[in-house]
């Protein structure tokens, strides 16, 4: 365990919209696991969506891993490296981690390493609980993120950058 590295896992999405809650649900699983394992260099947070104040939140960490449901990726789970982007696609529902990172850098002159864990979702209507396929993807994401937390350098050094 590379305990000196301070890591934040931040899941976002609305658990009231079925698979949109994949990020926060994963965060809940990881929170229980790090408590049980007494891992004290990893922290968790979650919210409905990212917003400007998260630029302040991430400035305290070496590595930040955002987790979000996606319908875009063809893989069940996928981790990508995020670089700062000043591309303004600003709507309060859909602030991208790249925007948060860019804002953090501009406001606080610091940019942690940021990654986005895409977890594929299938159903997004009003209801709680994940679809069967999303539940399987959640398990894969949980296993994967445990490995990343335990050996971040090994698992993160070869991650491709999101374009």
């Amino acid at each position: 365990m590379e305990a000196e590295i301070k890591i934040l896992l931040f899941g976002y999405g609305n658990p009231g919209r079925k698979d949109d809650g994949l990020g926060p649900v994963l965060t809940g699983l990881v929170e229980k696991w790090i408590l049980k394992e007494k891992i004290n260099n990893v922290f968790v947070d979650s919210n409905y969506q990212l917003n400007i104040e998260d630029a302040f939140t991430i400035r305290d960490y070496d590595i930040v891993i955002f987790a979000d449901a996606t319908v875009e990726t063809t893989e069940d789970i996928k981790l990508t490296r995020i670089l700062p982007s000043d591309k303004v696609n600003f709507t309060m529902h859909a602030v991208h981690p790249a925007f948060i990172l860019d804002l953090c850098q501009k406001l606080y002159d610091y940019a942690p390493e940021v990654y986005l864990l895409h977890i594929k979702g299938y159903e997004f209507e009003l209801n709680e609980g994940l679809s069967d396929q999303a539940s399987l993807n959640l398990k894969k994401a949980f296993v994967f993120i445990q490995k990343v937390i335990q050996e971040p350098i090994r698992y993160l050094e070869s991650i491709e950058t999101e374009r």
């Binding site: 658990p15 919209r17 926060p24 409905y48 303004v88 709507t91």
Partner: protein, 482 residues
């Protein structure tokens, strides 16, 4: 040949908006419409659910203003469990108010610093690649940091009062489920710089000064852009004070004459009806007794400062007096003054948070009351964007039988359409193409209302905005997206 222009989707606005503009053969605007793309489904979704689940369930509507829905529904279920809105315990009412002012504060701060301030700092005609929050962060770093920290402070107040960030459970039918701890109270009152209430008040004053300074230099634009006379409606406290949590329903006409005389909102259906128009999924509310043509009204910050007689906190009251003197005490119909009103409310919210944090009732006291159950109740609050109605009826098994929600953005449907029409006629007459300036102007007019289209349509929003231009034979001749 006549034309039709469509603008969609609006950036920096919640939800998905589309504006269509029809031109005649001389390229003059003959009709504009703000379309809402998604459709309502939430009322049907909660039918059959146990009523006590609803204050948490309604937060699924969207992630932008879950506290407004949480509190409006809790107020409706207070009535259903037989606890009148004025019969809550002091602790319950004050904790709910603290949650609500926290929400107002963070929502208004976000709107001003990160949605409106780029227009004010760089000008509406500035290069759109510069007229955004990123440029604010680069060129006005301290201001951008203030916006971030005000958001954070409000969010932390919400978390402390609602219990958690997602699907808060604080408000329950008949009361609240927690006190504030002494540690939380002291953190919010005198916490580490800058996250303490005095700093929040100081920054709120600074934001107000920024707007006033801009207004002095740009009064023609601020006073005249998308301005039009209208009626205004909001809650007011029974003595006429601004009150965003509870009170009576008041509406004034264009001259300030009361047309809805401080009525009990439990009877809102006697006064308010909703018109369905075939081209929009969002309804058009109106005052029944004035009819569809004359009965529409505005809600939100501008309306609230037009309906109330005074503000109960001293700094906001001073600002209110200055604001009112600008129109000689008459109703203010200047759409861009909504930003001014919003900042006065931001200051009021900060002052109210301080007052509530200093109140011992938030630390101890009875949390919940019980009463004699009834089957129907209406909850009303002023959400940041305006008046929000939640109306429920339950059956003998305590399940939701009927739900009706009128959200703030729906209340502002007609005014937003009016604003778009005004701007389109001013900027588009005689034009064949949609210019960048035209797109910006339409966005600015809509954004003044801080609409939450996702919420209004009760659907998960992806929000952009488009403007399309059609001729009189409905041929698309131009399309612009932002």
């Amino acid at each position: 040949m006549g034309q039709k222009i469509t603008i969609e989707p609006v950036t920096r606005v919640e939800g998905h908006g589309k504006v269509t503009i029809h031109l005649d053969d001389e390229n003059n605007v003959v009709q504009t419409r703000l379309h809402i793309v998604e459709f309502r489904g939430f009322e049907r979704f909660i039918q059959g659910r146990p009523y006590w689940e609803v204050p948490v369930l309604v937060q699924r509507l969207c992630g932008i203003c879950p506290v407004s829905h949480h509190l409006a529904s809790a107020k409706a279920f207070d009535v259903i469990v037989g606890v009148g809105p004025e019969d809550l315990t002091p602790t319950a009412e004050k904790m709910r108010r603290l949650m609500h002012y926290g929400q107002f504060f963070q929502s208004h701060a976000l709107h001003f610093f990160h949605l409106a301030s780029p227009d004010l700092l760089f000008g509406i005609d500035a290069d759109p690649t510069r007229r955004n929050v990123v440029s604010v962060a680069e060129e006005f770093k301290e201001l951008a940091i203030q916006g971030v920290m005000m958001r954070k402070y409000g969010q932390e107040i919400i978390q402390a009062t609602a219990g958690k960030k997602i699907h808060g459970t604080g408000a329950i039918p008949g009361g609240i489920n927690k006190h504030l701890t002494i540690e939380e109270k002291m953190k919010f009152l005198i916490g580490k710089d800058p996250l303490n209430i005095d700093q929040m008040i100081e920054w709120s004053i600074g934001a107000l000064d920024l707007f006033k300074d801009y207004h002095k230099k740009n009064s023609d634009f601020i006073d005249n852009f998308a301005a039009f006379p209208s009626s205004h409606m909001s809650l007011v406290r029974k003595d006429g004070a601004l009150d965003i949590y509870h009170g009576v329903l008041r509406a004034v006409d264009t001259e300030g004459k009361k047309i809805l005389h401080d009525v009990d909102y439990q009877d809102y259906l006697d006064y308010i009806a909703e018109e369905v128009r075939p081209w929009s999924y969002m309804k058009f509310p109106y005052l029944r007794f004035l009819g569809k043509e004359e009965g529409w009204y505005r809600v939100g910050p501008l309306a609230r400062l037009n309906t109330c007689d005074f503000i109960s906190t001293p700094l906001a009251q001073n600002a209110f007096e200055e604001y009112k003197s600008y129109t000689n005490g008459k109703p203010n119909h200047m759409t861009m003054h909504t930003h001014w009103a919003r900042l006065i409310e931001t200051l009021h919210a900060a002052e109210m948070m301080k007052e509530l944090l200093e109140d011992p009732d938030i630390l101890e006291g009875e949390l919940i009351k019980k009463g004699r159950k009834t089957i129907e109740g209406v909850g009303l609050i002023e959400a940041p964007r305006g008046t929000l109605f939640h109306h429920y009826r339950i059956n003998q098994n305590d399940q939701i039988e009927m739900a009706n929600l009128i959200v703030s953005t729906t209340n502002n449907n007609e005014p937003m359409n009016k604003a778009v029409e005004l701007v389109a006629k001013e900027r588009m007459n005689g034009q064949e193409k949609i210019s960048e300036s035209m797109l910006n102007a339409v966005e600015t007019a809509i954004r003044a209302y801080d609409p939450c289209l996702s919420c209004a349509t009760h659907a998960l929003g992806k929000m952009p905005l488009q403007i399309s231009l059609y001729d009189s034979r409905d041929n698309l001749i131009d399309l612009v997206e932002s």
